[in-house]
Symmetry: none
Subunit: 193 residues, 4 copies
DNA sequence: GATGAATGAGTCTTCATTCAT
DNA sequence: AATGAATGAAGACTCATTCAT
């Protein structure tokens, strides 16, 4: 998390921080401008409107995050290790930059139409990895989309839980292996013992 | 889902439907009044303000939902069956009343302070059940709060996934056993084979 | 010009007065609200937005004015007398209610698309009267649309001229017969003497 | 209509085109700068502010136009021919440069105070010509100011009418003689036959 | 128990204009 | 001479809420 220097970067950062704190609808352009220390119209010099601002910040960081996950899982040969790598990274980002993680979590719920299709990248990646693991006979036959949703929910909700621990958010790093195991277990399906 | 008859019931129902559709901040008192077919001040006759309205509707239905889950799991002796019963009920409510389920899902993200503490009921229940299962040696030693969060995430995110399928939401009923199994697997921890 | 009593009437009157004075773009909703003596949102209780307000006030009075002209010319048998009657009424309205006349004059230039088609009523009436006079052989063959435009311009521009006389607007009443004659002369076409 | 070469000329031309299209209040400095292809402050290098810009462009072209009319009518000995020459020139300018003509037409309605006095040049010219014709006994006794207003309205409103014909503006050239005749008829006053 | 009318605070956004570079 | 960045003022409009009836 580098300190933002240009006004545009400051606006992006302020947007992330404020939205993480109060949600998209709880933040006004005035709030953002104030936190940056500029006038309201100054924000419009850099982003055409509020939607564009939220959208641009969201997609930028979502893209980066998704790309990182894609890159980190690639070297590994089996789903178990892929999940480990991705979960570890989630924990790292969470612990390193709560605000960004929360922002990504909250921004989902806005611009329903647009966002929904866009942010398919991550579920899509997970789904593909699961499909490949099925083909490899690494895990049993199952609906990959549903499995992907369950795995994501497991990780994200755990993050939510950590986030709202009082008085300070709980670190996710220590939960990394627990989470990886849980995710791996999810895709095991029914055990016949 | 009984047809609401009194004005107050109509207001509650409209609130659920509209918030499920557009989120808490996307719905105004005017929207609610209009959908009910009364004037705005009429709404204030029944609820002191918007917060109280959302809060009351939320807690009412959340309580009912939590109580149902508590009641349904009670008869079962082990965690596996308890999870089965609760997941099945979630699927049932989802398929029976999308709006209510979505409302419950979305209302979480508002009134951060207040809601967060309140809605601990469900995680708390899950956590207790997991603790008991650990004591019973039914499942391995583990952090019950984290486990509860992961299980909830697994179910809720799966619901989200189903909700946003196009052109119509996917039914959760058929996924019930898949989900139960996944939840059960989550609490198994590391397998040493 | 009756004194407006209800808030809605007061809003309409204030709109006419202010727009007559400063043009559509020169008047804000705040200005109107202030002149009426209510808050800005109060205006929105009666008109959904500024466009609707201007449009409604414009069409209402334009319709009335056009209807009056249509009614007044009807009893007369020939174009000359019809023109006389209509011009006299224009002069009367002008002298009786400068603001209304000016408002009607200025509101034309707004909402280009919509207004242009709407306000065809008056030119259309004139054109029809001229066509009928041609058929009656009362006046020579000519393009009735062009003739109608010239007649209207003659009257309206004369009104403009009177309006901007300093220190007070000049009365049009005394010019009524001069104007009628001019209008009548316009439709005479080339004189072969 | 020469192609503008310097930035200043481009600004003037863009101003004319945009204002002809959307009216003075419908055009922002940004619009103008964008059409020219320069930054907003660049416009301020050439004109101290928006008012000055509109004003300068208006007076420049109004002066030129008025001077042309004055020059063209001079050679003719009687009012009839003077009107013919001037009307013909109006038609020519209209057909040659719609934007300019429209701009001149629309710019009238702004800067009420200032413009009104300034643009008296043309009515003044007309009034003088009519006065002289009266002295010459070419036309009957009448109020020359009123007559001038009527003649101008006749021509200008006809131009408006042509301008808004769909799908393309109607040419005024073919109407030239019709218009001249009408103008000449206007100043004939009451016929005693 | 319900309503039409009203309001203060606040929303996003645009505009004409200036300033440092 | 030209620009990117910034700003104060203002614009249209919405919202939760109140009050007289």
């Amino acid at each position: 998390v580098n300190e933002p220097t240009t006004t545009k970067e400051k606006i992006e950062r302020s947007t992330i921080v404020l939205i993480a704190e109060r949600g998209v609808d709880g933040v006004s352009m005035r709030d953002i401008a104030r936190l940056v220390g500029v006038s309201e119209p100054a924000v419009y010099r850099h982003f055409v409107n509020k939607n564009a601002l939220v959208w641009e910040v969201f997609t930028t960081h979502y893209d980066i995050f998704a790309a990182q996950l894609a890159r980190l899982q690639a070297p590994h040969a089996n789903l178990k290790n892929k999940l480990c790598a991705m979960v570890a990274h989630c924990c790292f980002v969470f612990d390193t930059d709560y605000d960004l993680f929360t922002f990504l979590l909250l921004a989902q719920h806005v611009q329903r139409g647009a966002t929904k299709e866009y942010q398919a990248a991550l579920p899509e990646l997970l789904k593909t990895l699961i499909e490949e693991a099925i083909e490899r006979n690494e895990i049993p036959q199952q609906d990959p989309a549903v499995a992907a949703a369950m795995v994501m929910g497991c990780v994200l909700h755990c993050a939510s839980y950590c986030l709202y621990q009082k008085p300070v958010p709980r670190k996710m790093g220590p939960l990394s292996s627990t989470l990886s195991t849980a995710c791996w277990n999810i895709v095991q399906g029914e055990r016949h013992e």
